[in-house]
Amino acid sequence: MKRYTVTLFSVLMILSMVLAACATPTPQIIEKTVEVEKVVEKTVEVEKIVEKTVEVEKIVEKTVEVMVTAEAEEGTLPRNETLYFNGQQWNPVVGWNPYSNNNNNAMAIAQQDNARVIMFETPYLYNMLDGKQYPLLADGDYAWNDAMTEVTFKIKAAAKWNDGTPVTAEDVAYTWATAVKYETPLAASNKDFIDTIEAVDAQTVVVKAKLGDDGKAVNPLQVQAYLSTNYVVQKAWTETLEKRANGDAAALLADPAEDVAYSGPYHKFFADESKVVYVRDDNYWGQDASMWGKLPIPKYLAHTIFKDNAAGSVAFAKGEVDVSQQFNSNVNLLWESYGLPISTYLTDAPYGIGASLPTAFFNLKAYGLDQLAVRKAIAMAVDYPTIIANAMTNQSATFDQVPRSLMNPTAGEQALYDREAVKDLQWAGNDIEGANALLDEAGIVDTDGDGWREYNGKKLSYVATCPAGWSDWQAAIEVVAAAGKKIGIDITTNYPDWGVYQTVVTASDKDLPEGYEIFMMWSDGAGPTQPWGRIRKLMSSEFVGMASNWNGNWGQYSNPDADELIKAIPAESDPAKLKEMYTELVKIYLSDVPSFTLMYRPQAFHAVNETVWTNFPHDGDGTTPPVPPLDLTDGWSIAGLYNLTLVNP
């Protein structure tokens, strides 16, 4: 009797696994003659809110290779009309409110240097490859007045909201006014350099810069950047929202805004704990000849919410993700070893375009680290090629390819400084001999024979740190620690939880505590204010003393000469003069070594699986202006959505 029970259980176990395995048929490619009805009028219930009539395209009878899975039916996203992403959305979407900036709705709401514009739109689109801003809602280029105190631009006549009403200058002005009135993040980040935004007429917008005591704009660079960074929100909807929030700022920001008006090509189709799906608005104004001239190709954009990089990578390799924006370690193996139809923007290492400079900061008040020789020796001894090979699996340019400065590897930024003038200062790393000589020369030697150097009789002993679990950073920090050992400086590693780490590092109103002598943080990537913005955040002393400093200069470096140059650059327009100033800043940075770059990191990792879709942006793909390797949703990279084609149409 008991024996039967065992057998029964075992059979049940196996049976349930086998049955379930049969549940999803594995797709296979076969030759099949497809006959499809010519034109079908079909009623689809969208979100249970609206009834929408969709016209299904005319398909003619022909012999094609098709992926045979279950038939496309309601409740299924047709594979060849859906573009899948990963790497942007890590938690469920919590709202659709463009005023909030905190809706965890990464694909729809991201007001940044390369703003994501699938749902809400900015007047201009920034292109990180050529550093230019191209009109989106705006009609033609913007223009400064002669005194450089205000910028004027026009709104395209064709630009419409999803409810069919035109996008007007009044919408632009009211978006700003609302931000200021309710002190939203948008206002907080811009009111230091923007005074007012006014509508001259229905199409014309004037942005007035905040003026300094000298009557000049405080920061013209950031006024320009505003135009490609921030969305235009509909005035009529904003008024509805204000009514609903009863004038309360907290309620206004917390509103999930399911009814929001938008001008972009996509909007909410579905969102839950596992995914978010956006559907195309076939009335999108951008199909007007004055903008794209057509609709973006995929009908749906979908983002599965993976819980870690590993799960995202597996799905990407299986073809369940088309555009991967996450870090896929050893991405080249996906095509070299597994022969998958996966590719990156560049065919060889570093596979992408570096944009930001993950950096190790020194606590400049720590014992011995106030000595230039110690800082420079550590930075010279670090084995950067190992960091790039291990931490980034070669997805970063090396410092031989792009010598260190303050610039990212894009051609535009590299041209901004005089490489010859700083050549002697650019160390390549792994220079143990040079580092040892430097320390010996400074009189920082091992006096008691324990193998570690002392400064004024005290052993040089530091902790190098970064947040726990940030595996690429941890790998880099380990290499930094190893360099210390080679030159007689005792560097150990420690990885606090991010919750603790961030609180300590961003408290620039106090000295950094013990255990944070060498620590890693990020730097700005590519954007309309770069490289100025990045340099400011690496070197400007204006951040010293801030209670919650999310900007930069976390090592609390202070140099009046650098401050002066950083202050002067935004108002300077003479290219020769600019180059001189940038070169000077690079010189100061590489001489003082307040921090040092460990690797180059792309603005967004960009790898694509061409099982279903193809014609993604690649280096030298002939697009003009070139489509940058981002997410096909942000800044000028959204142009890539209009170029896609199906592998099997």
Binding site: G75, A250, E273, S274, A315, Q502, T503, K537, A547
Partner: protein
Amino acid sequence: MKGYQKYFLNKLSWFLITFVFAFLLNFILPRLMPGDPVAAIVSRVAQGMSNTSGVQAIYEQYARLFGTNRPIHEQFFIYIGNVARGDFGFSISQYPRTVFDVIRSSIMWTIALQFPAIIVGWLIGNTLGALAAYLKGGFDKILMPVSIFVSNFPAFGMAVILMVIFGVALEWFPTSGGYGFDLIPEFSWKFIRSVISHYQLPFWSIVLIAIGGQAIGMRSMAIYELNADYVKYARFMGIKDRKIIGYVFRNAMLPQITGLALSIGTMVGGALVAEIVFSYPGLGYTILNGVMGQDYPLISATTLIITIMVLSANFLIEILYGIIDPRIKAAQAD
């Protein structure tokens, strides 16, 4: 019945006292963690923000909103108000969602995964353990080492092995998600089939480990009981084996039932490993995120639910014991 009433009241008062302390600890402990939850939000909002006073203003705005700038006793009364209202206040990590909303959207996935897994693992494990004790011989010699081996498998390892074999190599099952990546939830066979198929790997990764542990426990309990005096006596009396086995397993089962009740009580905590490896929706990962982001309201609410479930399960078991096993009641009522 007098004795039982006393026993019941005694248990009830302990239940209430424990609950009050647990409630206090649920509130206090998360707030003792080093770090600052508002900083995490600011870091998210302030990305790409370049002016200095702006970041500070945002920080203060959120600190006001979540009350983290107030003294802890005031925060406690705010917390009680939120609990009484039933929504537990705004989640910090998923603001502007309320904690209730966050929990509601993932708790069904967790219960649907955990409850059957616990029950199935418990049933199979106990049956196998009892059989091993009773049949001895070859069955025991194989089952015992296998159980020890499997039950000591790290959950993570088991999940990854199942995924690599059945998900990646054989492609029998999907590797991630709660349902097909190309589906929208609706009531249809296709969707249900997809859910079942996605359910298999996370489910078995939990069950397989549970089976081993349960089997080992049950086997030793049963062996102990099989050698007890009353069994020998019953055998001498000529009572049928089947009857004796009935007695034996009823006694051996008691500690296993306590274990089951506790497992069910803590199941809301989620199957974190299975959720992460298979990107399966559920509360475990939500709670982990809450802890990482120091989402006090979310941590307090979820631990409160777990506390209530564990206490209630314990309470019910104790009450049932009083009925099932008069010795316990007698001992406690003294």
